[in-house]
Amino acid sequence: MMRSSAVSLALGYVVLGIAALVLFAAPLWYAWQVTIQDGRAEFLQADAQRLTDVFRREGADGLKTFIDARVQMQIANERILLLTDASLHPIAGNLGAWPAAVPVAPGNYTIKFIPDNRGVQTALIHVAQLGGGYNLLVGRDNALFAPLQTHFWYGLAGAVAVLSIAGLLIGLITRRALMSRVNSIRHTVSAIIHGDLKHRLPTQLNDDELNTLSRTINGMLEQIELLVHGVRNVSNSIAHDLRTPLAELRSRLEELALIRPPPEQAFAEIDGAVADVDRVIRIFDALLRLAEIDAGLRRSGFVTLDLADLAANAVEFYAPAAELKNIDLEFRSDGALPVSGDPILLAQALGNLIDNALKYAPENGAIVVAALKSGEAGAEISVSDNGPGIVDGEKSKVVQRFYRGDASRGTPGVGLGLSLVQAVAKLHGSSLVLSDQNPGLRAAVTLPLEAAMPAAIPTPPQPAVSASAGSAIAPVVTCARVPTSTSS
């Protein structure tokens, strides 16, 4: 139990509390003692002075009468008075004899004495020598202050006791409460260790440390489950989709070994086999990159970049391909769009979208790539084509891995393009929105605009080299409709 952190903490606080009490009481005690001692010494001195004055005025007999009267008046024996002659023989006062502990010399003395069965007391004594060998002793016992002192000590001891007991109790209670919660966390975690990732730590509504920790751990578990799920998904997909090209490759090679065709034909078959392998590698790379994006590992590659510039470059890159198909590829921009993102992935995502549009837009079709401000703090990048589009029922499916819509049958591709775009959008805290153009598909991703644009970002691009003559950067508000091709 002593090892419990709650109890050690409580003990530490108790010790600290006691130390604070002592630190508080000690100077107080000292100051009290000094002040009282001084005050009383002064008082005694003044008293002695008054008696000395009486002696001077009225002589020894006068002083004797005065002292006798005083002793009579005295209710308690708190005041000590004694007048002696030169041989210390008492003349007046309430002491039977000169106390042995008090020297016969002027000054202040503290002595112990036992007055009338009241136990040992201390008394402060002032001795003055009067003329003619007479000695005067005035004093006061400290009995008056004894109860106060006792109370002081009792109070201190009581405070220490209450502090200790309360501290230990609080320590034990905290420990009990903590242990019950730690145990419940431990049970959950062991369940997770044994493979059940569905478990979550219990949390309450308040924001105490353990709850915050539990919530953070739950977030971590969420991410781990997602990752594990992702890995499982990817392995399923790999198994499913690599089987086909591998099977083709295998039969191709087997046939080659079996038939042993003439060199010319054999070489052609080998080239085909290499192409098969390249296809497998491509699927592999795409899957690995998807898994990598899903895992959120790429956030480290985030920089501030100009989305409009990125889009202009992509349009410029694909322009000759569009020209080849006689497709009008238009780029619209309304100025720099600083966003935080991974330039490689964003370029690849946009590339996939344009690639897709080029695949589905008809000959002499039109594609519009737009990088425009969206609302106050958004940057929307969109690619619209006038191809067959995607029917509503299929929109959610096309972003799934390896899904290939009816329209895509017979076109090259592995069915990972849009799922990569979706994954990239998700990594950037956004999502891919597919909508109808009637005819055609509009794919858009909106990213939050960065507040400020660092100077290192290149200035907006030169007009894109586009297949369309009228495709210079023009400020436009919306790109929901694709205009018909102007020229190509």
């Binding site: 491509r282 990159r289 990598e292 790429r298 590659g301 391909a321």
Partner: protein
């Protein structure tokens, strides 16, 4: 060219060494990190091809770091089965000069080794480039073939400049994507080929002797020879 290959996979090593020898290069091979470190440190090589993951205590990146700390500036091409972009960045940051992920086409490897060797010999970016009767001045950005000036778009200029800097060498599509467009992914369509054919239209179409040639299964080359 004298090349060191540090690679533990026997089959890959055989394939690479044979290919490099056929291309006319002297090639040493080390099958583990210790031998690789020893050879790299003691022999003068023009290019080192380094596998990232090696058996034993010393891996490829560690060798590169040691070599660089010792002041060896031999260009190094990293081979790795890890193709993630972050990994590539880590490889280059440790002192590698280029990165090729496994599996790779031999043509790609050879082209990159050539490019590394060329780059290590120093590139003066201001000196005019000449291939046959094709001239390019990187400063004035003027391109002429014979007496005729050729007007190029900025990106076409960059493409041609890259090809001319590697004149006589094979340049792969991936190298063009990485160096001309800074794209580190594989566009599914043959866009690079289309760019090349547009460029070819401008520099070769009206001339008898083509300078920009396609190398089957590998890429392109700009050369005045045959």
């Amino acid at each position: 060219m004298k090349i060191l290959l540090v690679e533990d996979n026997e089959r890959v090593s055989q394939f690479v060494v044979k290919g490099l020898q056929e291309a006319g290069h002297t090639t040493d091979h080390a099958g583990n990190g210790r031998d690789g470190m020893f050879l790299a440190a003691s022999e003068p090589y023009d290019v080192i091809i380094m596998d990232r993951m090696l058996p034993g205590e010393i891996d490829g990146l560690a060798i590169i770091e040691v070599l660089r700390k010792a002041g060896k500036r031999t260009p190094i091409l990293i081979l790795s089965a890890l193709s993630e972009v972050d990994d590539r960045i880590r490889g280059l940051r440790s002192g590698g000069d280029d990165y090729l992920s496994k599996p790779f086409a031999f043509g790609e490897l050879l082209a990159r080794v050539d490019a590394l060797h060329r780059r290590a010999k120093g590139v003066d970016t201001e000196v005019p480039l000449t291939v046959g009767d094709l001239h390019m001045d990187p400063l004035t950005r003027k391109v002429t073939r014979g007496d005729r000036p050729i007007a190029l778009q900025p990106r076409e200029f960059k493409l041609l400049e890259y090809l001319m800097r590697h004149a006589g060498q094979v340049v792969t599509r991936t190298m063009l994507l990485e160096n001309v467009w800074d794209y580190h992914f594989d566009p599914q369509t043959n866009v690079v080929d289309v760019h090349i054919s547009k460029l070819r239209q401008k520099i070769d179409a009206e001339f008898e002797r083509p300078l920009l040639r396609t190398v089957r299964n590998a890429g392109y080359t700009v050369t005045a020879g045959d």
